[in-house]
Symmetry: none
Subunit: 280 residues, 2 copies
DNA sequence: TTTGTATTTTTCATATTGTGAATTCGGATT
DNA sequence: AATCCGAATTCACAATATGAAAAATACAAA
């Protein structure tokens, strides 16, 4: 009877000291637990390790590492392959970790990242995914500037003439790419890339430098810089971008603007539990 | 010289004391770590809990729970929603847990097969294995349809009430089957098979036609068609399935849908170097 | 077979460090 | 303003995590 009020009293806003101070006195962490989690993380990075390998490379005593592993094994977070005498991440770790997704909506996670991106660059930040061969804009954070690129959420746009679209195309293998492009490349402005070869050269450049540029290819007077966001399987599932008038998004500004975009994409990738596996 | 020999010396069979005694002296676990992991698991079960809720329901002191959470937060295993002052499972827990899948290349190999299966049938494709007497869903490729069966990866489900589960059960010999079923057959819907004899008849039918059908046995309104995937030793180690609403997955559609499922299972079996040896 | 070597478990003495009661703190409620 | 509530912190104490070393085991070599 000390429990059934789970949420019924609806503590929408919590009382108590707010923990926004970030880290100030991060001295109230549990050291042994932290070290144990270090082992856990380390094991996840290179699975199938022997006890001695782990303890050697982590500089910890075998005894300690052993006890950590046995303890985690007891909860299924770690598994021991009795045949090969090697340690692995356990199935329960997968089950527990997967519950993270129940709460994670890409759009929610992206909002703070996009706000920071907008503040860092001063330009409107956008988030988009692929939807039936087109780019669907999901969300945006508008710049404070008076002249601004406006791209209402819900808009659909051709992939080959969009920063986010090209960032996503650049991550596709030859097979999927071909299917996306078999409808031909519609022209929107004089600068739209309509030639398949030219597009593939651009995609190669995008892969090499890590970001794409829409240089008035969809709307005259508007440039856009985008980078891909990856899911857990290492597939590009979204793109994040900044867009603005050519007057501010100049060739000189590319370097200054692209860095925060790439950084934002990386941050968002981490925030949704994604990782970059392939580098095509 | 303490690192680069990772596996090169090929200790196929390890030395040292073999740990097959199972648990005998399970007293060399770390108590505080075990308690901390208990908090971690508990949080994953009901996300979005306040500190006091956790400590109350677990019967632990708030201080301890707090420190555990802060420590795990430091590694991203747990997240704190500053707005609502609630604790959640973190992105890194997901990332680490997802690495469980890397242990075999099964998931990687399965992805293209599943994508093709989804496109051929129009329904969500799933991959699952047996884990401790239950079906663990590893991966899925979602359909584009608006009404879709949603079965998040990481979910555990009873074998006798799952398409993949029954496909795996159908490949077991009498001995293993008995052990799996000695816990009884829990009922989930009016259509769940709860009678041992009826189940064995269904398993015989599954073996005969090569695929299993979950006909609203776990969730009303949802049907599922599955087939087994075999490893090199000819043992069924996974199942591949499509699942969808009863409105689309009708009795008439069974033939049209089962063919691609069987084909996908065969393709995946080949892709992982497996083969079908026994036909029990 | 016997001996040697590598690796994993266990033991044990030690002090590091995790623990909960009590306190402080800051917002929410009145 | 005053009061209440739950989150964050402190502190004194002993529970318990720790690593060195020894034991146990399997494989390799002699």
């Amino acid at each position: 009877m000390d429990s059934q009020d789970n949420g019924s009293r609806s503590p929408r806003k919590a009382r108590g000291r707010p923990r926004d101070w970030e880290d100030k006195t991060a001295q109230n962490t549990i050291k042994s637990l932290d070290r144990a989690m270090e082992v856990f993380e380390f094991l996840s990075e290179r699975q199938g390790m022997a006890l001695s390998t782990i303890s050697d490379e982590m500089g910890q005593s075998p005894s300690t590492v052993y006890r950590v592993l046995v303890t985690l094994e007891g909860r299924g977070l770690v598994e021991f392959d009795a045949e090969e005498q090697l340690w692995h991440i356990g199935a329960r770790a997968f089950t527990i970790g997967a519950r993270f997704l129940r709460r994670t909506s890409l759009v929610d996670r992206a909002r703070p990242v996009m706000r920071r991106l907008m503040e860092a660059t001063g330009e409107t930040a956008n988030l988009g995914v692929e939807k039936e061969g087109q780019v669907l804009f999901l969300s945006q954070v508008e710049t404070h500037a008076n002249i601004r690129a406006f791209f209402p959420p819900g808009t659909l746009s051709a992939m080959h003439a969009s920063g986010i679209g090209k960032a996503l195309l650049a991550q596709m293998d030859e097979d999927r790419l071909s299917r996306r492009l078999e409808g031909g490349l519609q022209s929107f402005t004089p600068r739209t890339i309509t030639d398949r070869i030219a597009l593939q050269e651009d995609l190669a450049r995008i892969r090499a430098r890590g970001y794409s540029v829409d240089d008035e290819e969809r709307n005259l007077g508007m440039r856009c810089i985008a980078a891909p966001v990856f899911d857990a399987a290492g597939e590009a599932l979204a793109g994040i971008s900044v867009s603005g008038p050519t007057s501010r998004v100049t060739a000189d500004a590319l370097d200054r603007l692209s860095r925060p975009v790439i950084e934002a994409a990386r941050t968002l990738t981490e925030a949704i539990g994604g990782q970059v596996t392939r580098q095509p």
